[in-house]
Symmetry: C2
Subunit: 336 residues, 2 copies
């Protein structure tokens, strides 16, 4: 029997939180790689908040996933067949492989990795797009200076936790906003954040004032919505707000809530700037080198929250939006 490939395909544009009916779980015969292509057996799939806006019929920095198309996702796997000169069977790779068991790749934006140096889940998190997003977002757009106060939202999340730790390495005061006492303890006790604010307790503005007595110089925003407005009220002169994401808005059925306090940008002569990690692709190696060093020194810690079974994708994906995941959310699809 020819080998089979199972996939999650977008069945309908979700309204609000994606439901199971928004997906088709399909199965098809596995294709052979053509010349200059290789076949990857996917082992881990990276689940990221950005996947939710890709499901909308809106032109963004990437085209929307089309109805019937395999859902776009990053993943890590092992090359099992190849007609590509640079990739051999047995090579481990990361790339945009989709929510499926196998993928054909022409090598574009696929990267060979060394599981002897770091585990595949780490290559999807701290040493992958997640970590790169934190690194370049914080350092290039946020431009923190020693002694400044950096606030990070989604601080226990995959990107936020790395951004906060890098800000500590750069000798800033770092305040994380996260949901729940467990996550707050994690970022202060395990990751060394100076303070944590549990947004589920409310009164975020008061808590920010207390934890940021010198005001806020850099805000690394993964969340948007009301938190962004609360932070704007307390930014310092020449503050930098890094717009990395807005997870609070991704399942909105109402229009996005724009930051009503944006005129604080004028009052404080501050800057709000969006970032996308792929703009820094030529510098990934440099960043990975530096972050590997920090990890070896124990200054930078990651945490992966790994669930198993491709068929659980629709439910596991939602943990990003309910805040149930602890660290980088990853779906394990097959044994290494």
């Amino acid at each position: 029997m020819a080998p089979r490939n199972r996939q999650f395909r977008l069945a309908a544009r979700p309204v609000g939180i994606p439901r199971r009916a928004d997906w088709n779980f399909t199965e098809e015969t596995l294709c052979e790689p053509a010349e200059e292509e290789f076949l990857v057996k996917i082992l881990y799939i990276s689940l990221d908040p950005a996947m939710r806006p890709w499901m909308n019929d809106v032109e963004s920095y990437v085209p929307p996933v089309q109805i019937g198309e395999v859902m776009r996702a990053l993943g890590a796997g092992r090359v099992v067949a190849s007609k590509h000169p640079n990739f051999q069977p047995g090579d481990y790779v990361t790339g945009v492989f989709g929510v499926q068991e196998y993928a054909i790749s022409n090598g574009e934006r696929a990267t060979k990795v060394e599981p002897s140096r770091a585990s595949l889940p780490v290559y999807l998190s701290t040493l992958g797009m997640t970590g790169m997003t934190a690194y370049f977002g914080l350092l290039e757009v946020g431009q923190p200076k020693p002694g400044e106060t950096v606030v990070v939202s989604g601080a226990a999340g995959a990107v936020g936790s790395v951004a906060g730790q890098i800000a500590k390495i750069k000798r800033c005061r770092v305040v994380g906003i996260a949901g729940g006492s467990g996550k707050c303890r994690y970022i202060t006790e395990e990751l060394g954040f100076d303070a944590a604010i549990d947004y589920k307790q409310g009164k975020v503005g008061q808590a920010l004032a207390q934890q940021c007595p010198d005001g806020i110089d850099v805000y690394f925003d993964n969340v948007g919505g009301e938190l962004l407005d609360e932070v704007l009220l307390q930014i310092n002169l020449h503050a930098r707000i890094v717009i990395c994401g807005a997870i609070s808005q991704y399942n909105n059925t109402a229009p996005v809530k724009g930051p009503a306090n944006y005129l604080l940008l004028l009052i404080r002569r501050a800057r709000m700037e969006g970032m996308l990690v792929t703009d820094f692709i030529s510098r990934y190696r440099e960043a990975a080198h530096e972050m590997t060093g920090w990890m070896a020194q124990g200054k930078l810690k990651g945490r992966e929250d790994i669930f198993s079974g491709l068929e659980t994708f629709p439910e596991v994906f939602l943990k990003l939006f309910t805040g149930e995941n602890n660290g980088k959310l990853i779906l394990k699809v097959a044994e290494e």
Copy 2:
């Protein structure tokens, strides 16, 4: 009889559009200047949109005008008495003199000007804070490059008209948004803008798409509100949005409308940044020198809309918000 001074003092915090009852028109005996002070007879008062937020009880880049205080305003006048070593009777000066007939100054932020070189109204407009705001906001924050498309809102206004002309001088395609066909003709026919969009005709998004076929690289925003959202949808990669003001929001009784499309900053990796002219005070001379040159070459034109009579201040001020003024709004208080 001792000379008298008449003043407009803030009587109440306005809700929405300021009403006559929000002002007290008072009269008092004129004081003598003390040591290191001088007395100015005010000839012209600059009326600026920013004065409206100064009337709110909100800490901003300057303290709010207090109830009972003389309304804060820039002005130009003649020194009539002095105990200050650097200012002599007969000198012409600009400064923050308030909405009144006479002011006492210690010289702080007062500048001597030469009416033989440019008229006093021009020193309040193109060669004053207005022009400086346009110059530094556009060039330093907007950073337009030749061939880029620059959109200016409030384009027939005092700041916007200068910003647009400077963008033309810098060899950009310049599209102005203004209210009404007269203003639109003015900016294209008199000031050389490449195109004008009359927001009162509606369909601003369509008009922007038509007039900015290569997208928008710089947006110089004086208006905020829905125009900002329309522009955001059409910004280019790495666009710069200069937040200079938000006149559409200044008389709001509802909360400020935040830009719901702010996530385009992420999608297009763009920047939104506030500016305040006083940050560039050390470079005013350089800017004035350059702008004087452009004026002499006919590349930069100003227009002042001058009304007379201090007592008309409450009504004339409102022209800024109804859009009735044509160019820089100035109140003439006394004959030169």
